[in-house]
């Protein structure tokens, strides 16, 4: 079979099992778009901005576990995609980004819409390729998917010059079944001795903690983690990226840890004597001040990426480099075979201590307020969707509230930009999720600042019939910036406020959707019910929340886990005047 480069690309994607590509046409990819027009296997989702394409593909990937695929043109198309590529890179999301490039003969001549995409993306991709020969195209695409989805996943860019996809150059096509790279061997075997040593240390613990992160979600190891945790009876905390890896409503779950984690999770980490970190990378938002991080603990660290081990926290007692799923299975097997059992008495005392910390109720807020509390909105969202929605978020206060008050019992339900913290992520990501799961409830929890960063994707949502529900916690501030300015800059609210916020109801209507404005707490529940009852409409709920509300509890920058700022220490937020 002889095909053109453009046809080879599309056929390769089809052979790879790709359902959707998220893209935007332009000069350098016109041959490819012509090939898209003439096939049906791969559906193209036309976004309104290339950043939206990457986030939508990313949301699709996070919800399904399958790689997200993006197609952009050269130059500005490619640079617009960079934020989304970096977002996926920071959270280890499998993604393949096809970027058009100017024709090979003019590369390097500052041609129209030329940019060195391979150079620009080098620091924020797992790997990238420039295709120089059409006969290598199919193999390169296979390599791109292989690298993106194996080991620690990540985005891979394939930059394709326009002449490579030309319709008049036909070459034989064969999509390789398998591909290998001599310089890339993602599979590692774990030494039995390491497993044994880890089990021994785990069973010697008096104050154990299980600290599990996004690696468990990416590694499809939630059921193994759950079995492992229940077998031991130890307390477990999840990172922001790990939420849903362990059921949040389970009694062994002590909540999220880190900067806006629960008091009990952070105190337990601080006091713990043995910590097992599973698919988590000791991010600075998790550790707080490094010198004060878990001073009494011996740490076991399981990670698929050797470079994650001893990167920030140096004192790792037992490093285990491997895929979380088989490692957890091995650990569980070894635990079951072990004659030694967890120290029941010590564990009882430890749980009593944790219950005392729980009694602080660090997530409690003023429920008698006449204003709409953002936490209340998330609680209502949780109830209305029966805890079973896919929830995407943007970045800021609303993201933390969604993480704190929506109790994720399943993996891949909580979809947010954790590492890069990309505002504008939520709406396009929700569209990607809805395409993957058309019958599921998909909510985008956002704020009036974040949503405006990719609001143009409302148009995409209409065209491709992805009825998502936008929960806009509108406090008329960039809330998280304002919160830090309140705490650290004596309430000098420098540019954290826009006094020309659009009428989101009209805006939603202008895009062909339903917009509802909510001003009173008692309107929240009915509006949410109404929104989710409209199965085939995208609904924008513009919810006027308490402008002064802050995210608590909080570990401020440069402090340790035991040094949390609790709400009670400051009184309720409404006591404070805002400028």
């Amino acid at each position: 079979m002889e095909l053109s480069g453009a046809q080879i690309l599309l056929q390769s994607l089809a052979d790879e099992g790709v359902e959707y590509i998220f893209g935007y046409p332009g000069g350098a990819v016109l041959h490819i778009y012509d090939a898209i027009f003439q096939q049906e296997a791969v559906k193209h989702i036309l976004v309104r901005h290339e950043q939206g394409a990457t986030h939508a593909a990313d949301g699709y990937a996070r919800a399904t576990g399958k790689p997200g695929v993006v197609l952009v043109t050269s130059g500005p198309g490619a640079t617009n995609a960079v934020t989304g590529i970096a977002t996926a890179y920071m959270d280890s999301i499998p993604m393949v980004v096809i970027s058009g490039q100017v024709s090979s003969p003019v590369i390097g001549s500052d041609a129209f819409q030329e940019v060195d995409m391979v150079g620009i993306t080098r620091p924020c991709v797992k790997h990238n390729f420039l295709v120089k020969d059409v006969t290598k195209l199919a193999e390169t695409i296979k390599k791109a998917f292989y690298v993106a989805t194996t080991g620690r996943p990540g985005p891979v860019v394939v930059d394709i010059p326009k002449d490579i996809t030309a319709p008049n150059i036909l070459v034989p096509y064969k999509y390789p079944k398998k591909v290998s790279l001599r310089s890339y061997n993602p599979v590692v075997n774990v030494a039995k001795e390491q497993i044994k040593a880890a089990v021994e240390l785990l069973l010697s613990a008096n104050k154990p903690m299980i600290y599990a992160g996004g690696g468990v979600v990416l590694g499809e190891a939630s059921s193994e983690l759950t079995e492992f945790t229940r077998h031991l009876g130890y307390p477990i905390t999840n990172t922001l990226m790990g939420l849903g890896a362990y059921p949040a409503t389970d009694k062994q779950f002590v909540g999220m840890l880190g900067m806006h984690g629960t008091y009990e999770a952070n105190m337990a980490m601080h006091e713990s004597d043995v910590i097992i970190a599973i698919g988590a990378r000791f991010d600075d938002r998790v550790t707080g001040k490094l010198d004060e991080f878990c001073p009494y603990a011996k740490i076991i660290h399981i990670d698929i990426d050797p470079a994650s081990i001893s990167k920030t926290i140096k004192k790792i007692a037992i490093p285990i480099v491997g895929d979380v799923k088989p490692v957890l299975k091995q650990l569980l097997e070894c635990l079951k075979d072990s004659k030694k059992k967890p120290n029941k008495k010590a564990l009882e005392t430890w749980w009593q201590q944790i219950d005392e910390w729980r009694a602080v109720q660090s997530l409690e807020y003023d429920r008698s307020s006449d204003l709409i509390k953002p936490q209340f909105v998330i609680e209502q969202l949780y109830q209305v969707t029966k805890g079973d929605a896919y929830v995407t978020s943007d970045v800021g206060q609303h993201q933390m509230w969604a993480a704190q008050y929506y109790h994720f019992d399943k993996p891949r339900r909580w979809i947010n930009s954790g590492g890069l913290g990309t505002m504008g992520f939520g709406l396009p990501a929700a569209i990607g999720v809805k395409l993957a799961f058309p019958d599921a409830d998909v909510a985008c929890v956002t704020g009036e600042a974040s949503i405006q960063m990719c609001i143009q994707e409302l148009s995409t949502a209409l065209q491709f019939k992805t009825p998502v529900k936008i929960i806009n916690l509108n406090n008329r501030y960039m809330g998280m910036v304002r919160q830090w300015q309140e705490f650290s800059y004596e309430c000098r609210y420098s540019h954290s406020y826009m006094d020309t916020i659009p009428d989101f109801v009209k805006l939603a209507e202008a895009y062909g959707h339903v917009g509802i404005r909510i001003d009173k707490p008692e309107e929240v529940r009915p509006a949410l019910e109404q929104a989710f009852a409209m199965k085939d409409r995208t609904v924008f709920l513009d919810i006027m929340t308490d402008r002064t509300e802050n995210v608590y509890p909080m570990i401020e920058a440069g402090k340790g886990h035991h040094d949390m700022k609790l709400r009670v220490a400051l009184g309720t937020s409404t006591d404070r005047e805002l400028a």
Binding site: V118, G119, R122, P123, K126, H127, L130, V147, L181, R182, S183, Y184, D305, P306, A307, I309, S310, K311, K314
Partner: protein, 163 residues
């Protein structure tokens, strides 16, 4: 401490910038970097001299290994090895200084490659420390220019860095 990291890397466009970019992005030092193809034209051998604490060096080797194009690497500082660097120095000479300079060059087992009435070009190989010692032994004012290749290295014994 000084470390000499030897890397086998795919001989492909952009491979060098992946390594160089990693060092600048993560704030590691590069003292010198040399690269050339090996007997297998699909592979390049890179020698990278860097300094840092054990923790930093451990991260550097892990991050380098993570680059898809990197096939293999070793830290030569971990075992007995030979280090060589090539230096060429252009020195101002006069009737009076020529003999003195020649004797210093002899002591360091260097060679004189080019002679003019007013200058010598001297070639010298050895460890980086030896080359430092030579330039220190020559009057600073007489040096016109110095060009150094950066260190390369190889381990002692039968073991080697190959596929």
């Amino acid at each position: 401490m000084k470390h000499i990291i030897s890397i086998l890397i795919e001989n492909e466009a952009g491979a060098l910038s992946r390594v160089a970019g990693l060092f600048s992005a993560r704030g590691y030092n590069i003292e010198s970097l040399t690269v050339a193809a090996t007997e297998d034209p699909s592979l390049s051998r890179m020698t990278l001299v860097t300094r840092g604490s054990e923790d930093v060096i451990a991260q550097i080797t892990k991050q380098l290994n993570k680059l898809i194009d990197v096939v293999k690497l070793i830290d030569l500082a971990d075992s007995p090895h030979i280090e060589r660097e090539l230096m060429m120095v252009k020195i101002k000479t006069t009737e009076q200084t020529r003999n003195d300079i020649r004797s210093v060059v002899d002591i360091f087992r260097g060679r004189i490659l080019d002679v003019t009435p007013n200058s010598y070009v001297i070639e010298m190989t050895g460890s980086s420390e030896k080359l430092d010692a030579f330039t220190a032994a020559i009057s600073h004012d007489s040096i016109i220019e110095v060009v150094r290749s950066g260190a390369t290295g190889i381990s002692r014994g039968e073991q080697g860095l190959h596929l």
